[in-house]
Amino acid sequence: MDLYSWLKAGHVFAWAVWMAMLLIVPVAAGAVVGHSQGTTVLVTLRRLYSRVGTPAMLSALALGLGLAQLTGSFSATWLQAKLVLVLALAGLHGAIAGTLRRIADTPSEARPQHLSRLSIASGLALLLIIIFAVVKPIQ
């Protein structure tokens, strides 16, 4: 099997893990805020997010850059648009990580709706990224 296929398989796997963390952890964290065992669960979710989600994000980015370099598609408009959205998604990842830390440290100041908003924004960015990557509406 060629290098391209291995890079693509790794990219899709890392992407899937990253998206799972980005979409599930904030919702789960928002659901346990205020519960008696909430703080313990929040700390576990925060650790899961930073130990699995962040490496998955960096792997997805690195493998994606490798794929783009291998295929020489950096000049394609759809890829440039996708890259802008990926950077926005990376920013949302950081915002969720920081919010999880703040909620775990000071549960009394927790605003679960803020996490839900970040998760919805991540879902919308994901939808647009998939459209740019698969449909390629602009070449």
Binding site: L58, L65, Q69, H93, G94, A95, G98, R101
Partner: protein, 98 residues
Amino acid sequence: MNPLARLRLLGLIEGVTLFTLVCVAVPLKRLAGVSEATAIMGPVHGISFVAYAVTLVEVIAAGQLRGGDAWRAALACLLPFGTFLNDRRLRAMLAGER
């Protein structure tokens, strides 16, 4: 690792990769025709830049950096070698946390 300490480490990595890209890889490409150096260092610097930016957002969202310090850390990664200049401030903040 404390996100602020991680931001400091990533800032130094970002600065070192930029230095290597600009002062080693680009001259190698322009003067000796070795394009592999930029092909490797370009993405490495790109990833370290994104890692710094994501950690910066995390630190701001966690409330560890506010106001002028946040702007200063954001500007640092946009200016050449700015993260080296901002390192002293982050080191002082970490020392204050201990």
